[in-house]
């Protein structure tokens, strides 16, 4: 077997292909249409962007369950900005990104400087951000988004590629580059491998962690505004529970929940797999509660597989040369 065939990414790709084949056979008329495929892409694009923010955090062994709320707050903020301040499209994105960074920084401050466990800190802010969002919007949809922005959201490049796709590519490329070619990214891997050692060789672990949570804030902000551009309106409730999908996609994409292992490619495949499963189950008319049970099981399966793999690798190392 070739080296690359042993990677987690290859295994996930195989599963993706298998799932693709199963659904195609199960419901070929509805599944294999350009319209449906584009639907899958469009509805999972936002997920894919958000997952780019989650990956580095999971790589350090951290977690951010407030990601859905971050996206919600950021999209509300940017919508209000565009409605009341300026309908400039670039500034609209900037407003979303900046509010994401701001709220992410709050998470980061609790985690990096107050040494609060990430799950606790972000669970707290999840509730706060959701409350804040409901307070601002009264729970109502924001539908009066400036026409220019709504038009922009319907643009296709070369009459084929939705403009949102560009955002996905940019965010994926940015995350990949940051992780591979900056010491910030290598620090992310180092912390996930051994946080004490990372500190000892001179990584500024606190600052790095702080920036991680700002980064997911930034990414969520962009993801939120991208969603607004797709639907032309903001539904403050739509992001409730979104964190499960984001974290699920990263984990199903082969990232180890204890940190250290994972890749951008794997995460993308994880998103594709989750998207395919969701779409497939709808097309195969599986009841919603079964869908939920199934998705949850897939996530648990992925985590279990990761733990078993780590155990086997450990066992392999205590080998003795028997006479």
């Amino acid at each position: 077997m070739k080296e690359w065939m042993k990677t987690k990414e290859f295994m996930i790709l195989m599963i993706v292909i298998a799932v693709f084949l199963i659904i195609s056979i199960g419901n070929p008329t509805a599944f294999l249409t350009t319209g449906n495929i584009f639907d899958i892409v469009k509805s999972n694009l936002v997920l894919a962007i958000a997952a780019m923010g989650m990956l580095p955090i999971i790589l350090t062994g951290g977690i951010d369950v407030s990601v859905g709320a971050l996206m919600g707050v950021a999209s509300v903020m940017s919508a209000y900005f565009m409605i009341h301040v300026s309908d400039n499209i670039a500034l609209g994105f900037l407003a979303g990104a900046l509010s994401g960074i701001l709220f992410g920084a709050v998470n980061g401050a609790f985690i990096a400087f107050m040494k609060m466990p990430p799950i606790v800190a972000t669970l707290g802010t999840l509730s706060i951000y959701q409350g804040l969002m409901n307070f601002i919007t009264n729970g109502n949809w924001i539908t009066n988004i400036p026409a220019g922005f709504v038009e922009f959201g319907k643009t296709y490049l070369f009459d084929l590629v939705p403009v949102q796709f560009i955002f996905l590519i940019v965010m994926v490329a940015l995350t990949w580059w940051l992780l591979k070619y900056t010491y910030w990214g290598r620090g992310v891997f180092a912390i996930g491998g051994n946080i004490i050692s990372a500190e000892r060789i001179g990584f500024n672990v606190k600052r790095l962690q702080f920036m991680l949570y700002m980064f997911i804030g930034f990414v969520s902000g962009i993801a939120g505004v991208v969603r607004t551009s797709i639907f032309g309106q903001v539904d403050p409730k739509v992001f409730t529970g979104f964190e499960l999908k984001v974290i699920g996609a990263v984990v199903v994409g082969g990232a180890s929940t204890s940190g250290g292992y994972g890749s951008v490619l794997g995460t993308l495949l994880g998103v594709v797999l989750m998207g395919l499963l969701e779409n497939g189950m709808i097309l195969l008319k599986i009841p919603t509660f079964w869908q939920k049970i199934f998705i949850g099981s897939v996530i648990l399966f992925a985590v279990t597989a990761d733990i078993l793999r780590a155990k086997r690798a450990e066992a392999k190392r205590i080998k003795v040369d028997v006479a």
Binding site: T182, Y183, G185, A190, S197, R200, I201, G202, V320, V322
Partner: protein
């Protein structure tokens, strides 16, 4: 002009909330010298090293001079920049990264770069690996390498950051004899190139092999510097502990009936055809080279490693432990070799760690934990195994390496096992305390416990084993009893196949 001394340190103190770990310590290392730093568990060796690494800040008033330059404050980056490189007890490497990145990352980081130059990283790594003259693929994940190779990677990393002084904290505790020899050869090469090496170890024989000067710490105080040629084992020990210590042979009082019998135990790739008996009141020593299958074999007795074939009889009836908790329920305790990592909840205090395995026995009539009994039980074992400082509330992670080891031993003794399996009982434990641990083991055996002790340290095997099994390449290659137990015959069986002589 060349500096005679690479490092000169004076008036270094370090106060932790609960202890003064260092009290006015001096430490000087010459350029190109191999220097030993020794002392009992908790003497302050690791603390001193961490100060030089810039990990801990010393109390005010410390004077640190590197190559004649007085240094105000050290942090992990400036320490490396001044040429100090530390190989910590746990190596501080990254199992999830490649060998190349592990080697080059700190030197690149130290240059303050923000962007990664992968080509340059590989070149740095290549150069360091070539200098060592070892064969380690740059692209393999570090976690897939043996401990010995990881050790070499750690050295390569020091070289890559242009270290002028490499400090190694107990570097040989996980290495076999052959691997130690390779390490020593490398140390001599480094020395020839003008690099100073500081060596922290409890294995005095090894230190005599490579070190020129000994610095001795005792209870955080500086005792003195001594040239190796004027020293011998017993002089060093009495300076370290302030009294003389000897390894007396401790004989068994009475050996009772068979409690455990192993027949033809086999596991492919681990061990083969293992048969022996263990009796009440007996200490059975199992020795052999590192990697001879000793640990894997006792894992099988504890439900950690399922054998392919063979029988284990406990009190005459066959047992088959699926998990360690089955073994514990049957009265077996296992103290693993890698205690600092495997045995402790580092954030919990010592009291809770020691009583962790016996919590269900320390309840009151309401089935709630009886805090008073818990404290009594913990204090009893703290005294028995002599942990210092004897502060039940101190978090386990704050104890020195050797004292953490003792806490794990205490935790297992608290389960009152009928059979105690103990892997390298005195690994990382100072010479003075070794004798204490030996006496404790003998005491336990005299009270009726049966003990299996894996040990690579011959003097230890000779001092307390009633019977010795020597393993070689997964098999029992020799068995000795009473007066037959001597170092020569054991070494022969450990190194040589059965039928060959010489």
């Amino acid at each position: 002009m060349e500096n005679e001394y690479f490092l000169r340190v004076r008036n270094v103190s370090k106060t932790f909330p609960s202890v003064k770990a260092l009290d006015n310590v001096s430490f000087s290392v010459k350029t190109g010298e191999v220097h030993a730093l020794i002392g009992e568990n908790g003497a302050g060796k690791s603390t001193l090293i961490k100060i030089l690494a810039g990990v801990y800040e010393p109390d005010p008033g410390a004077h640190i001079e590197i190559e004649g330059e007085v240094i105000g404050k050290l942090n992990p980056i400036t320490s490396v920049r001044h040429g100090i490189s530390i190989i910590f007890q746990d190596f501080s490497l990254f199992a999830n990264l490649t060998v190349a990145e592990n080697i080059a990352i700190s030197s690149s980081l130290q240059q303050g770069s923000t962007l990664v130059d992968w080509k340059n990283m590989r070149q740095i790594a290549r150069k360091a690996i070539d200098y060592l003259g070892v064969d380690i693929p740059l692209d393999s994940r570090l976690g897939n390498l043996s401990i010995a190779k990881q050790q070499l990677v750690a050295i390569a990393r020091s070289l890559a950051s242009n270290a002028k002084m490499i400090i190694m904290d107990e570097p040989t505790s996980a290495l076999s004899k052959g691997e130690v020899d390779i390490l020593f050869k490398i140390i001599r090469n480094l020395q020839a190139d003008g690099i100073s090496v500081v060596f922290v170890s409890h294995k005095l024989e090894e230190l005599f092999e490579v070190c020129e000067t000994f610095t001795i710490l005792r209870d955080g105080k500086y005792i003195g510097d001594y040239p190796a040629r004027e020293m011998d084992n017993s002089k060093l020990i009495s300076l370290m502990v302030g009294r003389s210590v000897s390894y007396d042979r401790l004989e068994a009082k009475a050996i009772g009936e068979t409690i455990l019998e192993v027949q033809n135990l086999t596991k492919a790739g681990n061990f083969k055809d293992i048969s022996f008996q263990l009796h009440r009141g007996e200490i059975l020593g199992i020795t052999g080279l590192v990697g001879s299958g000793r640990t894997e074999m006792v894992h099988a007795l504890f439900g950690l490693n399922k054998p392919d074939n063979g029988t284990i009889l406990l009190n005459g009836s066959p047992v088959d432990f699926a998990t360690p908790s089955d073994a514990v329920a049957a009265g077996i305790a296992f103290v693993p070799e890698n205690r600092a990592l495997e045995g402790l909840v580092l954030r919990q205090n010592m009291r809770d760690n020691i009583t962790l395995a016996v919590l269900d026995q320390l309840t009151n009539s309401l089935k709630l934990i009886d805090q008073k009994r818990l404290l009594n039980e913990a204090e009893k074992w703290i005294k028995e195994i002599n942990v210092r400082p004897a502060v039940p509330d101190m978090p386990a992670g704050q104890f020195s390496g050797g004292n953490a080891q003792r806490i794990v031993i205490g935790k297992w003794l608290a389960t009152h096992p009928k059979i105690l399996i103990i892997d390298e009982p005195t690994n990382g434990i100072d010479v003075g305390a070794k004798a204490e641990i030996h006496r404790l083991m003998r005491q336990l055996a005299d009270d009726g416990m049966a003990i299996i002790m894996i040990s690579s340290e011959l003097p230890e095997v000779l001092a307390i084993s009633d019977r010795v099994l020597v393993m070689r390449r997964g098999r029992i290659n020799g068995e000795f009893m009473g007066s037959q137990i001597n170092s020569e015959s054991i070494m022969n069986k450990a190194f040589l196949a059965d039928n060959k002589v010489g």
